[in-house]
Amino acid sequence: MSVKLYDERPEELLQMMHLIRAYEERAAALQAGSGVPGTCTSVGQEACAVGVIAALGADDLILTNHRSAGHLLARGADPGRLLAEVMGRRDGYCKGKSGSLHICARELGVVLTSTIVGGELGLACGVGLSQKMLHRAGVVVCFFGDGAACEGRFHESLNLAAVWGLPVLFVCENNEWQAFVHRRETTLADGVVSWAAPFGMDSATVDGNDVEAVRAVAMEALDAVRSSGKPFLLEVRTYRLRGHFEPDDQAYVDAQELARAWSCDPLPRFEARLRDCGRLDDDAIAGMKAAAKSRVEAAVAYAVDSPYPGMDELVTDVYA
């Protein structure tokens, strides 16, 4: 598998969003049946991942965190190898050692995933420093959550990137939740983007449930990083539609708020737009969904077939 690049066609974006949705829902179903370790799904946040990543070039690098499947799939990850990793199988991207929480795929430029909240922010500065000092073209895109913005590393990382002029696009997926804590309990700030200005960093906010808007803003932000060599903070406002870590009954989520959030689900919204402008009809959409589902079923078959790593793997890859 290699990096997926996107052309201008909106259908591609929708297709990828459906693949992510189908993948996540299938993974969650497997986990509900137990036997398969849990994951943090990105249901509801597909437009963030796809919108930003569709704006990237082949050289750009991505750092992500515990909620990574959307980013990986959008960048072209094979769903079979991804699920194999979640299931701890040998053919996973990390030989099964990572499991769901720290999956990276160097071949796709998805580097150094950390499940320590905020960890990706510090690592991203280092990757940005390499890009800069080794005169590489790619921008470093660092996805993180609104929760990560509570960690001190957020402050340290933005400051360092700004003062050193590192080519990092910080993308905060503000999904209103930080595991089992609502964002309103953790900060008085209305959003994350307001922290950019004191660092002398440019920033923008975008409706994260509108994939085309996300892509457009991400394009601009990437251009800004590329031309200035300086970092940029992009806040993508969205909502975590499923629980934190599967299985999760969301009993602690306000039902009205959740219903409202579902009514903004980025998939039907984008479908409606493409339908309205005549680019897609119901059949085409149904076909897209079916294709995503069957790709995911093949992935499940692949992952289930993949053996567990051998016992020798317990102590390999510790030292270079």
Partner: protein, 318 residues
């Protein structure tokens, strides 16, 4: 006696101590969401969800402890303690000493670790030895339900900072807890099984591994004593030495990696203070010196197994 789980034992301990002492409060990322009954009973002031930032949780706990409160901070998974090392080690552990005794730090920091949930090395890392190596702290890591309750209550009452490690593999384990007020003193090991030929010394989930091994060994004519350390700092040297002086042989078993682990300390104590009683080398069985993998069979293999304990013990007794 009531059969409850470790999680329930922790809840009971918290509820009882919060009832007893109004200065006790609980804070952490999601504690108010997950422990709704405590919020109902004690209110949101005393059961606080925090921002997602372990450093400030621990720092706040340290500052509050020094000035009149008795915080219990749930820091979730042990590797997240890496964000709170300054607060735990440099502040809570040292500022009593550095201030010439002006302050004390009665706080408890809770963290989970160990194999069981396939979450990998950034959620599962047995770093209890770091804190054993650090001055001014106490370290507790129970192996059975009753001890979870009794030791957590004791930790909350202790006037020093206590690291309270919860073995993930035990969270849903059930067991008996004595009715009524039940305290387990910090600093006392327990003899889980008495024996003559060899001492199996362990803590947390590998105590059960040693008990399994001891049963097998008994069938093979080897009488193994099983010691559950329960507290890792201060270590109950007297119990360890009494056992090894009796049996003359020791195997130390834990999931944490070997180098500079708690097993190293115990082996060193034994090699110094029970030297003349020793009939055989002191052996350690531990997790490998590698990060914990997420993959289920690898994660299971990370933990020392009863069969290996049996083999090791038999070799020593041969």
């Amino acid at each position: 006696m009531a059969q409850i789980t470790v999680q329930e034992a922790i809840d009971q301990a918290l509820a009882e101590e919060m009832t007893r002492d109004p200065r006790v409060l609980l804070m952490g990322e999601g504690v108010a969401t997950k422990r709704h009954a405590l919020v109902e009973a004690f209110g949101g002031e005393r059961v606080r969800n925090t921002p997602l930032a372990e450093g400030i949780i621990a720092g706040t706990a340290a500052g509050a402890a020094a000035t009149g409160l008795r915080p219990v901070a749930d820091l979730l998974f042990a590797p997240f303690l890496c964000y709170a090392m300054d607060e735990l080690v440099n502040s809570a552990g040292k500022l009593r000493y550095l201030s010439g005794g002006q302050f004390s730090f009665p706080l408890v920091a809770i963290a989970m670790t160990g194999a069981g949930w396939c979450v990998g090395a950034q959620h599962n890392h047995n770093i209890e030895a770091w804190f054993v190596h650090s001055p001014g702290l106490k370290v507790v890591m129970p192996g059975c339900v009753a001890d979870f309750k009794g030791l957590l209550k004791a930790a909350i009452r202790d006037d020093n900072p206590v690291l309270f490690f919860v073995d993930i593999g035990l969270v849903f384990a059930a067991g008996d807890v004595p009715e009524g007020e039940y305290l387990v003193p910090i600093g006392e090991a327990a003899v889980r099984r008495s024996g003559q030929d060899i001492s199996l010394i362990s803590y947390a989930k590998t105590v059960a591994v040693c008990e399994d091994a001891a049963r097998t060994l008994a069938e093979q004519g080897i009488s193994a004593e099983v010691i559950d350390l329960r507290t890792l700092k201060p270590l109950d040297e007297a119990s360890i030495l009494a056992s090894v002086r009796k049996t003359g042989r020791a195997v130390i078993v834990h999931e944490a990696s070997r180098t500079c682990g708690v097993g190293a300390e115990i082996a060193a104590i034994v090699a110094e203070k029970a030297f003349t009683a020793l009939k055989a080398p002191v052996l350690r069985l531990s997790g490998p010196d590698a990060p914990a993998p997420a993959s289920f069979p690898l994660e299971q293999a990370f933990v020392p197994q009863a069969a290996a304990v049996v083999d090791t013990a038999r070799r020593l007794c041969a």
